[in-house]
Amino acid sequence: MPEKTGLVFFPAFDWAISPTHPEREERLLYTKDQLFEEGIMDLPEICEYKARLATFKDIARVHFCVPEIRAQVTEAHLIAAGGTLVLADALMNKEIKNGFALVRPPGHHAMRVVHGNRGFCNINNEAIMIEYLRKKYGIRKIAIVDTDVHHGDGTQDIYYHDPDVLFISFHQDGRTLYPGSGFTHELGGPRAFGATINIPLPPGTTDEGIHYVLEELVLPVLDDFQPELIVNSAGQDNHYTDPLANMRFTAQGYARLNARLKPDLAVLEGGYAIESALPYVNTGIVLAMAGLDYSYVREPDYRKENFIQPPEKMVYIKELVEYLKEIWKNRTSLGQQKQFHEGDFYEQKRSIYYDTDHIREQQWEQIRLCKTCPGYQMITSRGMYPYGTTRTIFAVAIPWQACLNCQEEARGYYQERIKNPQGLDFVYLQDKPHDIYYQFFVEKDCEIQIE
């Protein structure tokens, strides 16, 4: 049994969205100071790894980037995503017992289709890591617990129709915070009902409330689902000093959460209290994952008496947990009741807003309702950019579980649209069973295979 906790620390000290943007060079500076001054990297329980660059193929396994991958990612993105892959390899090679990728830029708001930056994210680091793990090591069932204060809408979107990836997100209620989603009724697509669970918490929730959710809902559900791996999408903006949110979580709270959740891999997401929270929260998480005593980790202004949960909030949280437990218990029958669709496809339409880049996207999604597999997906997406330009794409995604029939059908649809691409700028095929990814450029009439 490996004993060490792997760390990839990639603070990208030379990358920012803009000089005063929360996602800037300085974000992990004080975390570096704290971790290095503690001597964390020298501990026998810790093994530090160097990040590497993810390939375009690693990205194409998850995303449809418009107009192409190159336009959506910088070297910093490739390194942040690649950092998670280094730990995935180390874990699977049994060099480490668990790992924490302290990387930026973050990724959990990046959806399957990428027209631009949403919520500081362009590409989804966790999803890229998970698809890499599945491809390279044949991992099937994975659970993601999103502990960021924001709803992990990008990760939810990517795995909404995948019954083998359990996505659990707790976050500040979407009625009070970006991105305004993550409600209890978002439970997964027709073939993956119940594999998405959202726990919207009232502003001001403390350690007590979050630990209640963890103990009473998250851990029992994980126990039922029996994933091969647990991934913590580890945002730190539930912290009581975070400038972008309003929760009351502490460094001790985060450390204990990780000690109880025991994620195999954790990937840093948001968290913008770069002085008052991050140095302490990150130290706490690292120590907890390494099985070291974290009881001495404390914010300078922490006073126990300031963190009492009002009783009415606890009542609300308890009811929420009860409600979701019921759904989880009955997910199979509830899922069947919801599938009243006639025909071969389940369809949904929606619009998505990119806050950072001011892009509006309209999406029409079709999921093949197959009796033997989770079905493939077809997405038509139209991005409306500032200054009036638009781009429209058609994308076919074949999941790795797809039956041979579905695979053939899906490839057929892609071929058909390549021949008949009217109204489209790009056509994509994400063929996971073959691990081959194509993008067709309509204007240039040329198809490339992404490597």
Partner: protein
């Protein structure tokens, strides 16, 4: 004229240099447990050779600190720690029974987040006195960003117990890493007096011989320090041997190239790297007694493989070189076959008795049903392949070191050596084969056998200053010197201003160490971070590092180029 002396574990090497010439060289066995006599034994003939010419400088590289620590011949020290929140201080294993932990905390910006408690300091001093402790290292987390707590404790001790010797963490190293600062502070205090004693003796014997030349000590990072300064941080002179040989190679080979330096000895082969003419420093501080420290040292690797390693036929009927020595080579009267015997049979060397070497090869060969020549060739091949593999692994390890910036990560491309440069007894025999194996040039420079003494003699005085400016707190500190001062600048300090200030400091401090005013300092790195409150910039952090880098005295290099 310059004198360089390297007192190593086995041999003491010494050279007398005049301009680009080696006037005299000495190689003599080191007398165990008597560094002073070893040193004098090497020095006397050099002084004779110098006749009455003026000696301009003498540089020593010794194993003094290594020996003191290895033999436990150091002074007991108590530890007073101010760790603040974070890791449980009991997680650190310093092996110091007299450890005291005080309340109080400083954060990463140098702000006090918890005051000291005077009552605790008082009780601590009482306990220290009751146990008869004479030396105390006082170290706080983030003391390099605010020394007030360390100073308050130290001055309390000074006032109430002036007989107790103290050292403060921020004086020893300002680099991040509290546990390494603790270990380095401990070692500093534990060796200071003995270091002083030893060098007083040296000064005395030199004075008796009428020598007034300035004396320098070589450090692990390849720089030299005037003797008087070395007293403050004696532990920095540990592991100066590998630095001496690397600098020696730098002095004896073409400049600007990428080379592997190999010192092939009897029991070990020591490796060091020169990348584009610059010796590679270890990214972590030196490991001493199994503890990491803040001592900057060359990146070196010691492989348990040398000319005297024992060779045997393993259980699977193949030759293996064991990582130990049983004595001298068989051809030199030793008990077991060794690579040296193989080299003798192969005609690569001429030392030792050929008949005995052949006997050793036959002993092994009979088990393999091979003649002596073929057995010898196999052993040499084994040795060369192993060294080549270790060299490649060393480059790989360098590539795999963490990087925290995009440019750093992208820049660490695959680099492979142009030269393999060998010093040590077996080098001339092995090097040509190793060069062939690795596809690069093999060099055995002239005077290779005393390259370390040449390296010591020619090493430059170095100085590195790392600045941390915090314009919001209007404050700056210097890692290496423990300076923590108000900036006293009106308005925002620009990055250019900060760099200018750093260079000014460096020149001033350099002058004190005797660095000639014409010497060009270099900017190691310069980084700027905006501090933002809400969406407006309220201050900046600048991290700036400037240095006079390690290297070889300029005029030696210039004359060498002219003569070439």
């Amino acid at each position: 004229m310059i004198i360089g002396i390297d007192v190593g574990g086995t041999y003491t090497d010494a050279v007398l240099l005049k301009q680009e010439q080696v006037l005299e060289k000495i190689k003599t066995p080191t007398i165990p447990d008597d560094l002073l006599t070893s040193l004098l034994k090497a020095l006397e003939p050099l002084l004779k050779a110098a006749k009455n010419n003026q000696i301009d400088r003498i540089v020593f590289s010794t194993t003094l600190i290594t020996n003191l620590i290895a033999t436990g011949n150091i002074d007991p020290v108590a530890l007073v720690l101010i760790p603040g929140p974070g890791l449980n201080p009991n997680t650190y294993n310093f092996n110091i029974p007299d450890t005291f932990i005080l309340s109080g905390a400083i954060d990463y910006r140098g702000r006090e987040i918890e005051p000291l408690k005077e009552k605790e300091i008082k009780e601590c001093l009482e306990a220290v006195r009751a146990r008869g402790i004479k030396r105390v290292a006082i170290v706080g987390k983030f003391s390099q960003r605010n020394k007030n707590h360390e100073e308050a404790v130290a001055s309390y001790f000074k006032q109430h117990a002036p007989e107790i010797q103290t050292v403060m963490g921020h004086q020893v190293s300002g680099r991040l890493n509290f546990p390494r600062r603790v270990v380095t502070s401990l070692l500093t205090l534990a060796t200071q007096n003995r270091f002083q004693e030893f060098y007083s003796q040296i000064q005395k014997v030199l004075a008796q011989r009428g020598i007034t030349a300035p004396i320098y000590i070589l450090k692990a990072d390849g720089g030299t320090l005037p003797f008087a300064q070395a007293f403050l941080k004696p532990v920095e002179t540990i592991f100066s041997g590998p630095a001496a040989s690397t600098l020696g190679v730098l002095a004896l080979t073409p400049s600007g190239q990428t080379s592997v330096v190999l010192d092939i000895g009897g029991t070990t082969t020591d490796l060091a790297l020169i990348l584009s003419g610059k010796p590679l420093l270890a990214s972590r501080g030196a490991r001493i007694n199994n503890h990491l420290t803040h001592v900057r040292a060359f990146a070196t690797k010691s492989v348990a493989l040398g000319g005297d390693s024992v060779v045997q036929v393993g259980p699977d009927s193949s030759l293996e070189i064991l990582p130990q020595r049983a004595g001298a080579a068989y051809c030199l009267g030793g008990p077991q076959p060794t690579p040296t015997d193989a080299m003798r049979v192969a005609g690569l060397i001429t030392i030792g008795d050929e008949k005995r070497a052949r006997e050793a090869m036959n002993k092994l060969g009979s088990k393999l049903k091979l003649p002596a020549e073929q057995t010898a060739a196999l052993i040499i091949e084994l040795m060369v392949k192993r060294i080549a593999r270790e060299i490649n692994e060393m480059f790989l390890a360098w590539e795999e070191e963490p990087a925290y910036r995009i440019w750093e990560l992208l820049q660490k491309q695959k680099i492979r050596p142009q030269n393999v440069v060998g010093i040590g007894a077996s080098a001339p025999a092995i090097l040509p084969l190793l060069g062939k194996e690795m596809g690069c040039r093999a060099l055995v420079p002239p005077y290779a056998e005393v390259a370390n003494a040449i390296g010591a003699a020619l090493a430059k005085v170095t100085l590195r200053l790392t600045f941390h400016f915090d314009t919001e707190r209007n404050f700056y500190f210097i890692e290496e010197t423990g300076v923590q001062e108000k900036l006293g600048v009106k308005g925002q300090l620009s990055l250019a201003d900060a760099e200018e200030m750093a260079f000014k400091w460096l020149r001033q401090e350099g002058e004190k160490l005797g660095i000639p005013p014409g010497e060009e300092p270099e900017l190691v790195y310069s980084e700027m971070f905006n501090m933002v409150r809400g969406w407006t910039t309220t201050g900046r952090l600048y991290d700036i590092c400037v240095q006079f880098p390690p290297g070889i005295l300029e005029d030696w290099l210039e004359r060498r180029e002219q003569n070439a």
